[in-house]
């Protein structure tokens, strides 16, 4: 009963909406990337239109696409355009939860047409958009705030639980993938060569990666760091909580040792490296879009105040 009371208290706490707003803005940019990269490479028809109308596969459609007339160019092009408009609306923060819901429905309708040409980023995007439906992401830094208060920012409180759900999703993803890396090339006892071999796979390379043969020990170190970082990801959630409620020895130690920042820095380095070396779509940016949820709004407010203070004042 005590545990339940604490859970109710935790899920009733509120805070400023800055972290969630930054998450929403980054998420909107990722929607634009996800759809824009397909448009930019001229693969919309190839991927998402039925082979009878110019695509590469016989497609069975998704409920929305079927309702609109099936996977034919006019329907698919319209939905892609609508998805990009929704992505833009997320970035500027107009329409509140409804925009996030529309984006989720449209993006899933399109990307679900050809599941063979899909990636984990589609799953992550859908999950993140659903969290943007649940949480109040346009409370501040949004057109909605401007229309409501006359200012771009607002102190309207939002449920802290929404930020925790985003952080939780990130941690679940990292931990789940880490716990499934049971290959002899990933795990201790082996030679930690997984990343070297993965970089040799031509499927995802941006450039020829044979040069990694000359820096093999670096790839071994990166493999070990990645594996440990993913497998121990739940510690990150604990560290986030520790910053919000630094009580007890363990949580105070997590704050003192800046464990959250260590995880964040390693994560950023891994995602950026992946982005540079491999073409795995918007997975990295999308993962990083969830990072603002790892910090309470106060952290961003303090950072912003420091930035303003450093700006040279006019002559």
């Amino acid at each position: 009963m005590r545990l339940y009371r604490r859970w109710v208290e935790a899920t009733s706490a509120t805070e400023a909406g800055t972290s969630l707003a930054l998450f929403r803005i980054a998420l909107g940019l990722c929607v634009l990337w996800t759809l824009g990269s397909v448009v930019g490479s001229d693969t919309v028809d190839l991927l998402w239109v039925d082979s009878a109308h110019g695509g590469m596969k016989r497609l069975s459609g998704t409920w929305l696409v079927d309702a609109l007339g099936g996977p034919v160019p006019s329907v698919v092009h319209g939905l892609v355009a609508a998805g990009m408009v929704c992505g833009l609306a997320l970035v500027v923060g107009i329409g509140g939860r409804l925009t996030a819901l529309l984006t989720l429905v449209v993006v899933r309708a399109v990307t679900g047409l050809n599941t063979e040409a899909a990636g984990s980023y589609d799953l992550l995007l859908a999950n993140a958009l659903w969290l943007a439906v649940l949480g109040d992401t346009t409370a501040t830094l949004s057109v909605d705030a401007r229309l409501r208060t006359g200012r771009w920012t607002s102190a309207r409180p939002v449920g802290m639980w929404a930020r925790y759900l985003v952080a939780f999703q990130l941690v679940v993803m990292y931990a789940s993938t880490g716990w499934q890396k049971l290959s002899a090339y990933w795990t201790p006892g082996g030679d930690f060569s997984a990343l070297y071999w993965i970089l040799q796979q031509p499927g995802w390379q941006r450039i020829d990666m044979t040069w990694t043969a000359w820096v093999f020990p670096v790839t071994q170190l990166a493999t070990a760091v990645t594996w440990v970082w993913e497998v121990t990801a739940p510690v990150l959630l604990l560290a986030v909580w520790a910053h919000d409620a630094p009580e007890g020895r363990i949580r105070r130690a997590l704050v003192r040792w800046r464990v959250r920042d260590v995880y964040v820095v390693v994560g950023l380095v891994l995602h950026v490296s992946l982005l540079v070396l491999m073409n795995v779509g918007p997975f990295g940016p999308l993962s990083m879009a969830l990072y603002p949820a790892l910090y309470a709004p106060d952290a961003f407010h303090r950072g912003f105040r420091r930035m303003v203070a450093r700006r040279p004042s006019g002559a």
Binding site: V38, M56, N114, S120, L123, L165, F168, Q180, G190, W197
Partner: protein, 219 residues
């Protein structure tokens, strides 16, 4: 309201966690285990177990692993079954099997045409010279599809790989009016260890899944 929210959030957390727990998923297709990459993993684990005093040959290890995977899949499926509509309607499905094991025997797509005097390469994945339709074929979603088509399970008659071949043939019939045939095939090879690359060795492999398409049918 507070209580309703607390209960709904608890259900969300449970649903997400239960589905994200490691599971073999599509890996339960035992036929796919014949892939050399998978076989090498079992051989490596068999050696590791032997080194800690648990001798188990790779075939027996596969049986044990398969039995455990099927049992766990049953338990997990039962736990997440009530949340099916939540995953389906709200996009909360979780499957994070990302680079769980390096693919040591990758398949490189080659597309060639014949204008009557032999085959000439049009597109070779990651090539800087055979770059026909590269902007489309190198897009990350296409890479994902082509990666799948490199596995035998996707190469069935009339399946996705052949449908891609038909699409390529249609484009080639348009782009090369004098071409007679188009060929798609995969070069499957074992990736090289660091010392072999440093010694200047080139990967050796074999051709698989060759398909021919007569272009006259698409003009």
């Amino acid at each position: 309201m507070q209580h309703l929210r607390a209960v709904l959030l608890a259900l969300h957390v449970f649903a997400v966690t239960a589905m994200a727990l490691p599971s073999a998923g599509s890996g339960l297709d035992r036929a796919a285990w014949s892939n050399p990459t998978v076989q090498e993993e079992f051989a490596a684990w068999s050696g590791r177990l032997a080194s800690v005093g648990i001798p188990m040959d790779p075939a027996r290890l596969q049986d044990v692993a398969y039995g455990f995977a099927v049992g766990w899949h049953r338990v997990q499926s039962a736990a997440i079954a009530p949340f099916g509509p939540y995953y389906r309607l709200c996009g909360t499905a979780q499957s994070w099997r990302m680079f769980v094991a390096p693919h040591r025997h990758p398949a490189l797509l080659h597309v060639d045409i014949d204008r009557g005097d032999g085959w000439e390469p049009l597109y070779v994945a990651r090539s800087s010279t055979a770059t026909w339709r590269r902007r489309q074929l190198d897009q990350d979603r296409m890479r994902s599809a082509i990666f799948r088509y490199g596995w035998k399970a996707w190469q069935g008659r009339g399946g996705s790989y052949e449908q891609l071949g038909v699409w390529l043939a249609k484009q080639a019939a348009h782009d090369f009016p004098d071409a007679i045939r188009l060929r798609t095939r995969f070069f499957v090879y074992r990736t090289l260890p660091p010392d072999a690359i440093r010694a200047g060795r080139a990967p050796e492999g074999e051709w698989e899944a060759e398909r021919l398409h007569r272009l006259a049918a698409f003009r």
